[in-house]
């Protein structure tokens, strides 16, 4: 009876806690509603009251009452830009980038945690292993969360001390948003700590469901926090809710919901997930490399695989979100799009291409290394060299620049800006063909990985295999045909060829992987996956994958930010500091590398702390025993 009472008490406390979280979650939204409505009737004017001045929104073109001061016109003086014998922008760059890295990580990991904990609840047989994995995930993010908060404080102090006038203007517009942000941050912290520390107490029955629900709330708060922070940068790039002088027109929703806000939200969420997957995979690789026993190695090998798998799942839709963002940038200001893709910043996109190519090569390499732990995989080893050849050839085409930076003598010797032979590979027709071939080959690698230790036993297996053969062969032919076809038709038609090329790749991804998974249902095992029996090179590949994500994130953030050129807020508030110029590519790349290095050094400290605090032994799988894998694999 005493147990029942204890259980009931637990339930009541769990409900109360959940209710509090929901209340905290809704409170800021409720508080911001009157400010956001914008249509609140004005109080009756007294006879001697001044008439309300109205002005037009620069983006929405609606009229609204002027309630804010104009954007300050700054001058190159210590008043607007205090300085410490160092480029202020660079200090802010480092502070913001570090905050973003940690912020992305602590937003992504709870999402993984939620997915894995849910899997643990619904798959009873593997419940303990998934639960342990989810716990491992959240444990890493806890220390990182404190560092994120610390870095957030540093960012605010840096803004206040180095860019006081600009920060004053921005906070005068976003006052209600910043207040909401602060409240949500408190709610997030509280939820995270309760979620983590109540793990053992809420591990059974109904309480476990409450615990899972808490992870949903945690992620809703985290996502809203991210979206609010995104509204500031989106406003700086494509302002709305203010008039041409930068005067706030009283509608906070217009200020938040600028034209680039949603594309940035989607792009960042997917990017954070891919990045988070990479960092967790790197953590698992680090633990694998420092493991003392086979059991530990088996656990962290599996953890690295799951994290990498989740990361890649979010990486695949990322280019489409990027495409949407770029399309909206072009729609907002065509010149901005040209500066990005065809002008001042275009060479940074070549660097991005190199990173993307390296990322796919590494992902393939990891899968091939992973086949070492699967008996029967030797049947497929002979195909790997052909895939390496295809990937390398496409990689070379993918990173060929359209034009080169040359001296007049070099230009004369080559006979123009484009190389007579290699120049043909520097155009989008060739590049689209190359990247789609790379992705299709990655899908093929994954399908081979899926069936490495299996033999399909379904009756229709020969037909299924023949269909897969036909699908992939013709997909390759079609992608390459469209790439060649692009050279023979005008630009306005050629631009449309990228859509069928992507559709061919996606056909292989969805039809191929689904058909293969169905074929492998009830398949004969050649032998169990021997987790932990992967080469250390595979683990270094995971670290490389994570580093590529980190570098690319820094690069793309830099590109997006520098496209504003000499504006704090595009076309509204000019940057008159001595640093309102675009850095050279070399300087930018060095800064990004410094940020990446700094992040990885500090995150290694976080990993080390995580290892110190691991009181619970990992849910180990004896070597040679099957451990769970994400749906759709093996």
């Amino acid at each position: 009876m005493a147990t029942v009472t204890k259980q009931a008490r637990k339930k009541i406390w769990a409900f109360l806690a959940l209710g509090t979280f929901v209340g905290l979650l809704l409170l800021p939204l409720f508080l911001s509603l009157p400010a956001g409505a914008g249509d609140t009737p004005a109080p009756a004017a007294s006879p001697d009251a001044k008439p309300v001045e109205k002005s037009r929104d620069v983006w929405y073109k609606t009229e609204g009452p002027v309630v804010g001061a104009p954007a300050p016109k700054t001058t190159d003086s210590p008043k607007d830009y205090p300085r410490y014998n160092f480029e202020s922008r660079v200090i802010l760059w480092v502070a913001l980038q570090q905050h973003l890295y940690y912020g992305s990580f602590v937003l992504a990991v709870p999402i993984f945690c939620m997915i894995v904990e849910y899997l643990g609840v619904i798959t009873k047989a593997l419940s303990r292993k998934y639960d342990q994995l989810a716990y491992d995930f959240v444990k890493i993010s806890l220390t990182a969360y404190s560092i994120t908060a610390l870095l957030g404080g540093i960012v605010i102090f840096t803004f206040l001390t180095l860019y006081p006038t600009f920060f004053g203007y921005l906070s005068s517009i976003f006052r209600p948003v910043m207040a909401t942000y602060a409240l949500l941050f408190i709610a997030e912290s509280g939820t995270l700590y309760i979620y983590y520390y109540a793990w053992d107490r809420m591990k059974e029955g109904f309480l476990k469901w409450i615990h899972v629900a808490m992870s949903v709330i945690l992620n809703v708060i985290g996502t809203v926090l991210m979206m609010l922070a995104n509204s500031w940068i989106a406003f700086m790039q494509s302002p709305a809710g203010v008039d041409a002088d930068g005067r706030y027109l009283g509608n906070v929703w217009h200020v938040i919901h600028t034209t680039l806000w949603n594309p940035i939200n989607v792009h960042r969420l997917l990017g954070n997930m891919a990045f988070g997957g990479g960092v967790v995979a790197a953590y698992a690789a680090y633990r694998f490399l420092t493991a003392k026993s086979d059991e530990e190695r088996a656990h962290y090998d599996w953890m690295g695989y799951v994290a990498m798998f989740i990361g890649i799942c979010f990486l695949i839709p990322l280019p489409f979100a990027g495409y949407w963002l770029m399309r909206e940038v072009y729609a907002y200001r065509q010149q901005m799009g040209i500066t990005l893709m065809g002008g001042l910043l275009a060479w940074l996109f070549i660097i991005q291409a190199v990173m993307i190519g390296a990322l796919f090569l590494t992902a393939n390499y990891y899968l091939w290394q992973g086949m070492d732990r699967m008996p029967g995989a030797e049947r497929f080893q002979k195909y790997i060299k052909y895939m390496v050849f295809v990937l390398i050839m496409c990689f070379i085409v993918w990173l060929t620049p359209h034009t080169m930076v040359m001296t007049p003598a070099e230009l004369k010797a080559m006979g123009g800006q484009q190389h007579p032979v290699l120049g043909n590979y520097g155009v989008m027709s060739a590049k689209n063909g190359a990247i789609n071939t790379i992705i299709t080959t990655t899908v093929l690698s994954f399908i081979i990985y899926q069936r490495a230790n299996k033999i399909p036993t379904v009756k229709w297996a020969p037909y299924g295999n023949a269909f897969l053969f036909g699908l992939f062969t013709m997909a390759y032919v079609n992608i390459i045909w469209l790439a060649i076809y692009g050279y023979y038709i005008p630009a306005n038609v050629r631009v449309g060829l990228s859509v069928p090329q992507v559709a061919s790749t996606l056909s292989c991804l969805f039809i191929g992987v689904i058909l293969n998974s169905i074929m492998l249902k009830g398949a004969k095992d050649v032998g169990p996956i021997v987790w932990g029996q992967i080469s250390v090179r595979g683990q270094y590949a995971l670290i490389m994958l994570a580093t590529s994500f980190t570098w690319m994130m820094g690069l793309m953030g830099y590109i997006r930010s520098s496209v504003r050129l000499f504006w704090h807020v595009n076309e509204i508030m000019r940057d008159n500091s001595p640093w309102a110029f675009t850095h050279t590519i070399g300087f930018g790349a060095n800064m990004i590398s410094f940020n990446v290095l700094f992040f990885w050094l500090t995150i290694l400290f976080v990993f080390w702390l995580g290892a110190l605090a691991s009181k619970k032994a990992p849910a180990t799988a004896p070597v040679g025993q099957k451990v769970p894998v994400p749906a759709g694999s093996h």
Binding site: I455, G470, M474, V493, G496, V499, A503
Partner: protein, 49 residues
């Protein structure tokens, strides 16, 4: 170690593979044409001009 599918003769396997290739060719041609049409573009531009 041998797959169940290996009961199918080699000649049959080749026939199935050829049929698959033909089906896939049809599918991708339709995909190309449809994807271009959605964008208001003519997939057979080069052949018509």
């Amino acid at each position: 170690m041998a797959e169940k599918g290996s009961q199918v003769s080699t000649r049959m396997k080749i026939a199935i593979a050829v049929i698959s290739l033909i089906l896939a060719t049809g599918y991708f041609t339709f995909l190309d044409w449809g994807a271009m049409k959605i964008q208001g573009l003519d997939y057979f531009y080069m052949f018509r001009k």
